[in-house]
């Protein structure tokens, strides 16, 4: 985004539902992405992320609910690439065209000057591969070109599905800077990714889905704080009741432990007030998005159940 003449549109998903046969892919999903922020869209495989993004961008039709960009459906937008840049699948780029032809065609479609193609090719770091055909690109290069196609119309909204896939560490750093500067300039970014560390380093807000439903939405700090304090009590049921009574979010962990969205000292005060005997209390070691993700989506951390692979000895 190079200009900020008007605020970027908000992305709104309202009560969205979509089923394939009897299987619901998206089930009453609602969330928002606001201008000036990078929103991470997280969920395990089959959680409904890609279906939601396809509905948002007019590639699929919802059974119920709406997905709007600035209050309008994607298909109603005139030259949508001028307001929303989308990269869902880098393999959808035609392999028979060169990098520069791909961008020139996109620029022409969106009514952008032809020089914009060279400019974007430089931005995505593919200037040296301008004359190379896309079929000869590595996956990382395709990702960069896909992001270039998304940026060609100088949009104020970016929707990217797994943009870091195939990128080398330098490419990931480049993408992180790109998204940050885009949001800092007032743009709206919705980023779907499996790479939790990458998401944690990039996003401001999180939308976590599982089984097609919204599990949690909010600022990254707030959500990661959920796993901030680990607590166990002599009477686990009484502890849960007390937390419910005070409206404090918690997630059950292994061995009856709860991850609570309170600072340890506040948890101690609450236990005192409720006459609870705590058997352990403290900040959880290694708290972060990965733990939040596994606890919110109900997926078990692989390391917790799977034995470490045995390496052959020499």
């Amino acid at each position: 985004m190079t200009t900020t003449t008007s605020p970027a549109p908000t992305l709104e998903v309202r009560a969205l539902s979509k089923s394939y046969g009897a299987r619901p892919a998206v089930d009453g999903l609602s969330f928002e992405c606001r201008p000036g922020s990078v929103t991470g869209f997280l969920g395990p495989n089959g959680a409904g992320k890609s279906t939601t993004l396809r509905i948002l961008t007019g590639l699929a039709e919802a059974d119920q609910g709406t997905a709007l960009i600035g209050g309008r459906r994607y298909r109603e937008l005139d030259r949508p690439g001028r307001s929303i840049g989308v990269m869902l699948d880098a393999r959808a780029l035609h392999g028979g065209r060169t990098g520069i032809e791909t961008l020139r065609l996109a620029a022409r479609t969106l009514g952008m000057p032809a020089a914009r193609a060279e400019e974007v090719l430089e931005t995505v770091g593919l200037a040296d591969a301008a004359r190379k055909r896309v079929s000869g690109f590595s996956y990382g290069m395709r990702q960069r070109l896909g992001i270039g196609v998304a940026l060609i119309g100088d949009p104020s909204v970016l929707v990217l599905d797994e943009p870091a896939n195939g990128l080398d560490p330098e490419g990931i750093r480049w993408m992180r800077r790109l998204l940050r500067s885009f949001a800092d300039a007032g743009g709206t970014v919705l980023l779907s990714s499996h790479q939790l560390r990458e998401v944690e380093a990039t996003v401001d807000r999180l939308v976590v889905v599982s089984g097609g439903r919204l599990v949690r939405e909010g600022p990254l700090e707030e959500l990661t704080a959920v796993a901030g304090t680990r607590v166990t009590a002599l009477d686990a049921a009484a502890l849960r009741r007390a937390l419910d009574t005070h409206g404090i979010a918690f997630e059950p962990r292994a061995d009856g432990e709860l991850a609570v969205s309170l600072a340890p000292e506040d948890m101690g005060r609450l236990a005192l007030r409720e006459n609870l005997v705590l058997t352990s209390l403290g900040a959880g070691a290694g708290t972060g998005l990965e733990e939040v993700f596994f606890s919110l989506t109900g997926h078990v951390e692989p390391s917790a159940v799977e034995p470490a692979p045995v390496l052959p000895t020499a």
Binding site: S50, T51, R54, T57, G58, L59, A60, E61, Y74, R75, L77, R79, P80, G81, V86, L88, D89, R91, A92, L93, H94, G95, G96, R97, E101, L105, A106, R108, T109, L110, R133, V149
Partner: protein, 244 residues
């Protein structure tokens, strides 16, 4: 509707460059074969335009389906339809635009074919043989042009209906071949019922009859069954098919 974009999108791929080069070579080769060699094969040493175009029709019966199906269905097969529809979400507009693009390519190809056929017929008849017969252009416009138009329309319908390059090509080339074979068998065995059934799906014969002005209501049946119906079903599928 942006046929300029679709034409450019078609032309600037490597596959299209190869296909168009082969098309040009085939048209030039068959034009030479038809126009220049005719005097050596005819008793009066003449070269007839209609015969030259007939020879050229043989490769065009393969080239027209290839180009038309590629333009209409190619992006579905290579998945680049996703990029197209993200930039141009009006699906009906994209479909119409691709149909217009295919029509433009077909018209240019046919015009080039007739021009080359006329040139090679004149060279063959006047410079190599005894005489060139260019007055048969009327027969070209009714029989050959109608045949090529039927091929184009059926290919367009198959591309729109099947939205797959491979399936579209198999149907666009295979079905007319099967209908032609069935028509010959029906005629050979004198089976009237089979003959009527074949007539109902013989688009080429119906197109020629329409062009000659001898068509009845029955000749509209192949047009409805093989062009209008698949186009309508394909357009509906095009509008609602999920991409991803």
């Amino acid at each position: 509707m942006r046929p300029d974009i679709d034409l450019r999108a078609f032309l600037d791929t490597r596959g299209a460059a190869i296909l168009l080069t082969l098309t040009l070579l085939a048209v030039l080769g068959f034009a030479a074969l038809g126009g220049l060699l005719q005097p050596a094969l005819t008793p009066d040493g003449s070269s007839d335009l209609e015969s030259t175009v007939f020879v050229l029709t043989l490769p065009l019966m393969l080239i027209i389906p290839a180009l038309t199906v590629w333009i209409t269905a190619g992006e579905w097969s290579d998945r680049s339809i996703q990029t197209t529809l993200l930039q141009r979400p009006g699906r009906l507009g994209v479909l119409s635009s691709k149909a217009v693009t295919a029509l433009v390519v077909f018209a240019v190809l046919v015009a080039l074919t007739i021009a080359l056929a006329a040139a090679s017929t004149w060279i063959g008849g006047e410079l190599i043989g005894q005489r060139a017969i260019l007055s048969s252009i009327e027969g070209v416009m009714t029989t050959q042009l109608a045949t090529l138009s039927a091929t184009f329309l059926f290919s367009l319908a198959m591309g729109v209906l099947l939205q797959s390059t491979v399936l579209g090509l198999v149907a666009a080339i295979g079905v007319p071949f099967m209908v032609g074979t069935a028509a010959n068998l029906a005629a050979a065995f004198g089976a009237e019922t089979l003959s009527d059934v074949v007539r109902a799906v013989d688009l080429t014969s119906a197109a020629v009859a329409l062009a000659e002005g001898t068509a009845g209501a029955f000749e509209l049946l192949p047009l409805g069954l093989l062009v209008v119906l698949p186009l309508a079903v394909g357009a509906r599928r095009w509008l609602h098919r999920e991409i991803g």
